[in-house]
Symmetry: C2
């Protein structure tokens, strides 16, 4: 979506989202190819707009308190193929092409690599 198409009218849904007290909403990034959940981060209004305008995932870095164009430094950008939000409008799900096949700052493909053993009785 280029910026020309981001009219006030078609952005009304953004105002319907439930941002938290810090103006943020949780955003889950999922690999569009095989469904792997890659990471969870936070977006504010600006990062949502930048994501839609550029087609690449932008978050809000809570630690650096700044707009975060994912992969701007590493090259591992996330090309957004689908943008969804949930029933109660407080979580975003983006389905992405993960360039470089690495989403995590540790070099792992997915941030979810810590497995807790479960042994259902």
């Amino acid at each position: 979506m280029n910026s020309n198409t981001l009219t006030n009218e078609n952005l009304l849904w953004i105002e319907g989202l439930k941002f938290n007290a810090r103006g943020l909403i949780a955003a889950i990034a999922q690999d569009e190819r095989d469904g792997t959940v890659l990471m969870m981060a936070w977006m504010n209004r600006e990062s949502i707009l930048r994501t839609l305008e550029t087609g690449e995932a932008h978050y809000w870095s809570r630690s650096r308190a700044e707009l975060w164009h994912k992969g701007a430094t590493s090259g591992n950008v996330q090309k957004v193929k689908q943008f969804l939000y949930d029933c109660d409008r407080d979580t975003i799900l983006i389905k992405v092409e993960q360039v470089g096949n690495v989403a995590c700052h540790t070099g792992a493909r997915s941030c979810f690599f810590n497995l807790v053993s479960i042994d259902p009785g």
Copy 2:
């Protein structure tokens, strides 16, 4: 995992999680069969313990301010097959068997049914 195996030793990782100011941590539920992201909710320490003890997803209901055994009323429980957490220890990912194939209170399979159109320029 039955409660006998929840020793202090193997629960140390819980204390390493980063709960927010309200004692909560985000938890994503994903269908273990096909990778569909079903919902995002919140867990506190008690709901994590109950999830591990019972093998069924327990969350913390922020609206009702109470422990929430997902599906206790509807029968659509989530049987937890994998329990993971992420690199910075502030998000949980559970891979579940969604009984009834419905996770959302609206009757939808997944809570993420609102699609925002993207037309990458």
